[in-house]
Amino acid sequence: MSVLSEDIKNRIRALLPKYPRKQAVTLPALHMVHDEYRHVSPEAVVEIAEILELHPSEVQDTMTFYAFFKEKESEKLGKERVWVCRGLACMLRGAYELIDHCEHKLGVHCGQTTADGKITLEFAECIGACDGAPAILRNDEHVMNVTPEKADGLFAEIRK
């Protein structure tokens, strides 16, 4: 039985004509699958490889280069991903203290997901929002000038 839905497979196939080689759809396909299923299982890798006419090891090779993608079921992402920037501009304006605060508040270390499955906390290198340091990336959007209170508000909003 297939682990990827027909819909997602079609969305991957729809990207093929944009690129001169099928392999170029690897990253977009990994993003789609990861977004929807919250990790990319070995079975999903095989199915992506089938569509792209690659060996599964080629997809696996690429995927594991980017620590961005979670493989294991046990590492499955929560509903939302919250990255706290630890880059220099943010460090200079309180990022390390903010990371401590978030870890405390959520009761997890960076890289882990809260027990309710709502929030995966991570640290990030500079996310390009240094004009709003310390900054957080909520999934793929910047939240700027984050105070501990603002972080708490963000967590409450996600958990609502």
Binding site: P20, Q23, T62, G128, G132
Partner: protein
């Protein structure tokens, strides 16, 4: 006289990201005109003669790069737009893409016309979701208006722009790392030559250019060579290899300033003016100790160190043009991202942060880079715990001097960028590190952050 921004002229307008407003402000007239009365070679000549140098970090002359493509190539030829923007403390490309994507897209159209490319891949770092969606909407507007696709403006010029998202790896900003990543492989930079202009994406001739470079192309084609050359700094007559530093530049200011902001100024503003005037000065009434003048890879400026041969001036007074930072031992102008460090911050903590970044982001292909960045971080971890040793300072400088394409030991420039902040910090702030060794006190951040994954 107050400088009127050109690249950022539209960003505060309502709906500045939409096609309608951009066209009302004269947008896409430059490409329309070029398709009527200019040959591709004319566009290349105009960009070349304006003296535009790439804004992505290396400052390579843009028009010249375009001429490296093989002549009369049957195609395809590709353009890759580099929006990986991951050099720490840099964010000007983000502002252009979020607020005025059409200015960038018009530059891409002009560049593709010039280099005879019918396909551009726009590689956007994952963390720029807002920019990605602004571009996606802008590109959709262009297709709907018939300004992308086949026979643009009724000419025989065809162009497709494909947006491609990264996945959180700094090395994808290195142009051949970007190409490998785009092709669906690990983002391992390639050994050069061949340079991308000869063999790039999908083994075809490829030009890689930065987002701000594209915006400059739009303005050069719209306003002309004389306008571009009226801004910035002409070549140093004493240096026959200097191509000058012409045009406007987007400087980003971050760290310990009152007002972290992206400002557009003619190339060559002094570091002091940038921080004290445009950044609102150092925060909390403090003084600056060190400044990183162009992204972490460029190293550090010692604000109090006298500038040789210039009475009363210090390193703080260097001009931020392509030559300025090099005069005080920095690697170059880089991304012109300025980060200020106040006098109450420990350089041990700063350097720890820097080595942590490069160790995390080394792609691991070259042993000197993979191991060297790791060793430098380990030494800085020791410093942070108050266990720094006297010999560590020499080891750090020694490692930093040996890794990189300049010493010739690695494939790409990430490792030069990893070395420069280390050696400039130790050479310029040695007494602070020696004091840290003597005191042996742990840093307030002594608890190390967890390392996850290798990239």
């Amino acid at each position: 006289m107050k400088y009127e921004p050109i690249l950022l002229a539209r960003i505060h307008k309502p709906n500045s990201h939409q096609l309608e407003g951009y066209r009302a402000d004269g947008g896409y007239a430059a490409i329309e005109q070029a398709l009527v009365d200019k040959k591709p070679a004319d566009v290349i000549a105009q960009v070349k003669d304006a003296g535009l140098r790439g804004r992505g970090g290396a400052g390579f002359p843009t028009g010249l790069k375009w001429t490296f493509l093989p002549k009369d190539h049957p195609g395809p030829i590709y353009l890759c737009v580099n929006a990986d923007e991951s050099e720490p403390c840099t964010y000007n490309n983000r502002i252009l893409m979020e607020k005025d994507p059409h200015q960038v897209l018009e530059g891409i159209m002009l560049a593709c016309y010039a280099i005879r490319s019918e396909k551009a891949f726009f590689y956007v770092r994952y963390e720029y979701g807002t920019a990605y969606r602004a571009l996606e909407a802008a590109i959709a507007e262009l297709y709907a208006a018939g300004l992308l696709g086949k026979n643009i403006f009724g000419s025989d010029f065809h162009l497709d722009i494909v947006l491609h998202r990264g996945a959180g790896a700094y090395i994808c900003g290195e142009e051949t790392g970007l190409i490998e990543s785009l092709e669906g492989k690990r983002a391992w930079p390639r050994i050069k030559p061949p340079f991308p202009a000869i063999e790039g994406a999908f083994r075809k001739p490829t030009i890689v250019n930065n987002v701000e470079t594209m915006a400059c192309v739009t303005q050069i084609m719209r306003r002309g060579i004389d306008w571009f050359k009226s801004l910035g700094v002409p070549p140093d007559p004493k240096n026959p290899r200097d191509a000058g530093s012409y045009g406007p530049k987007l400087y980003t200011i971050a760290g310990h300033v009152e007002k972290p902001v992206c400002v557009e100024l003619p190339m060559g503003v002094s570091l002091r003016e940038l921080v004290e005037v445009h950044g609102g000065g150092v925060w909390k009434g403090r003084k600056a100790k060190a400044v990183n003048p162009g992204g972490l890879s460029m190293g550090f400026v010692d604000v109090l160190a006298p500038l040789k041969g210039e009475d009363g001036k210090t390193e703080y007074d260097i001009p931020l043009d392509f030559n300025g930072p090099g005069k005080v031992g920095c690697l170059g102008l880089g991304t012109a991202a300025v980060t200020v460090i106040d006098d109450q911050t420990s350089m041990v903590d700063v350097l720890h942060n820097v080595t942590q970044f490069f160790s995390h982001e080394s792609c691991g292909q070259c042993t000197p880079c993979r191991e060297g960045t790791g060793w430098m971080l380990k030494i800085m971890e020791r410093f942070r715990r108050g266990l720094g040793r006297r010999e560590d300072l020499d080891i750090l400088v020694d490692v930093a001097d040996r890794i990189g394409i300049i010493p010739g030991t690695t494939i790409c420039g990430l490792s030069d960028g990893a070395g420069w902040p280390v050696k400039t910090a130790i050479r310029k702030f040695r007494s602070e590190f020696e004091e840290a060794i003597r005191k042996g006190e742990p840093s307030r951040y002594a608890k190390p952050l967890q390392m996850v994954g290798a990239h």
